[in-house]
């Protein structure tokens, strides 16, 4: 079954009120943040809070991701050690610029796994690309470790680095988004888009999500539970798409049985790429079955 990463909800790491019920909103992943949302004097307390929450609270089917501080800060190493010991599923590295950043982080993760008796390789990684150098190195980053499950775009820092600002149409992000999708696909991992920070503008959130889905992204980061459903709706195949995908696969199987490589459905040629897309549609539909059933009602 395909692992869904349609939505990843940001949860500030020093806010126990939000951490205790973050999973009830139905996002595919939760990203507890020890980095930018935590002030310098609260880094110690946030690390302890996320550690105790991960060890205690059952977050259901949500993938648990923790964004740690970079290794070149006084907090990075301790963050990684504590989160690996707590059994986190994914360590998210911020501001990734080179493959070496991944290797250095992986070494710390492995050290912690050995120290706490956790199977080597169990802790997965996600890299956030938040600057021009990271975008240039996207493929090297995406292939730097077998632990990597996804790369993600962090647009705020990226725009600052590019000496520009974020716009509604997102022209400033076109190159980075394209580069990140292509790098992720070449590496065989997922790619997750940046946040849309105007919580009150659902219409624009949907537009942006449709645009990044069309580019090839697997999902989007969200900063408010209200953004989860609109994002899921964009990523979940409609009933029509689901039925069409089933018909394509049925026609393809029938052609295979007849020994024919090419088949037509409703007057259109069904070739290999069309079949692959149909398989992906069905995977997504099955993986998001609860949402799909709701939509069918």
């Amino acid at each position: 079954m395909t692992k869904l990463r349609r939505s990843m909800l940001f949860v500030p790491g020093n806010n126990p009120g939000m951490m205790s019920d973050a999973h009830i909103y139905g996002s595919d992943a939760l990203m507890f943040d020890l980095e930018d949302s935590v002030t310098l004097r609260e880094k110690d307390a946030a690390r302890l809070l996320v550690y105790h929450a991960l060890k205690t609270i059952h977050y259901g089917e949500c993938e648990r991701v923790v964004r740690v501080n970079p290794l070149n800060t006084p907090y990075g190493k301790a963050d990684i050690e504590a989160m690996v010991a707590a059994g986190v599923e994914v360590i998210r590295l911020p501001k990734t610029e080179t493959a070496q950043d991944i290797c250095d982080t992986e070494a710390e993760i492995m050290r912690a796994e050995q120290k706490y008796g956790i199977p080597i390789g169990q802790t997965r990684m996600m890299a956030a690309i938040e600057g021009a150098l990271g975008v240039i190195n996207a493929y090297a980053i995406a292939t730097a470790s077998p632990r990597l499950v996804a790369i993600a775009l962090g647009a705020e820092d990226y725009c600052a680095n590019l000496k520009t600002t974020r716009s509604l149409e997102g022209s400033e992000l076109q190159y980075a988004r394209g580069a990140i999708v292509v790098a992720a696909r070449a590496a065989g991992i997922d790619c997750i888009d940046t946040v849309y920070s105007d919580v009150n503008n659902e219409e624009q959130l949907i537009k942006e999500t449709q645009a990044i889905k069309q580019l090839g992204f697997d999902g989007k980061s969200v900063i408010n539970p209200r953004q989860i459903k609109p994002v899921h709706r964009v990523f979940t195949p409609t009933h029509e798409e689901f039925v069409k995908a089933q018909r394509i696969l049925a026609a393809s199987r029938e052609a295979e049985q007849r020994g024919s490589g090419v088949v037509a459905l409703d007057g259109k040629m069904i070739d290999r790429p069309v079949v692959i897309r149909a398989e992906r549609t069905l995977e997504l539909a099955y993986a998001s079955r609860t949402v799909f059933e709701e939509e069918e009602l």
């Binding site: 806010n15 126990p16 009120g17 939000m18 951490m19 205790s20 110690d44 307390a45 302890l48 809070l49 550690y51 105790h52 929450a53 991960l54 060890k55 205690t56 609270i57 050690e81 504590a82 010991a85 707590a86 120290k115 706490y116 008796g117």
Partner: protein, 104 residues
């Protein structure tokens, strides 16, 4: 962490907030050889004893034998209480060698 009898509060310290779901823990040096907890909580009647016990156990596990703790609870879960107590203890003692391998 090893229980060390000479661990003591070197400076008054606090951790946590007064926000919903959190607990504010303030630690001061204690004169008696006990951990004294003064709790304010809107659910003190229902859960006061458990909250105080959770705080005391976390302080003892940290290795502090005497301290006065003022706690203002805003509906914190047990895991939040333990995290805030450890953070306050670390700040009050300067000891930050928390054993991440032990049970939470």
């Amino acid at each position: 962490m090893e229980v060390s009898s000479d661990m003591k509060v070197t400076t008054p310290a606090s951790a946590g907030t007064m926000e919903s779901g959190d607990i504010l823990i303030e630690i001061e040096p204690g004169e008696q050889r006990t951990v004294e907890v003064v709790l304010k909580s809107s659910v003190a009647n229902e859960f006061g004893k458990q909250i105080v016990a959770t705080i005391q156990r976390a302080v003892e596990e940290f290795g502090l034998e005497y301290a006065v703790i003022n706690a203002v609870d805003k509906g914190a879960l047990d895991c939040t209480i333990r995290a805030r107590v450890v953070a306050a203890c670390q700040r009050a003692t300067g000891e930050d060698g928390f054993d991440w391998g032990k049970r939470a």
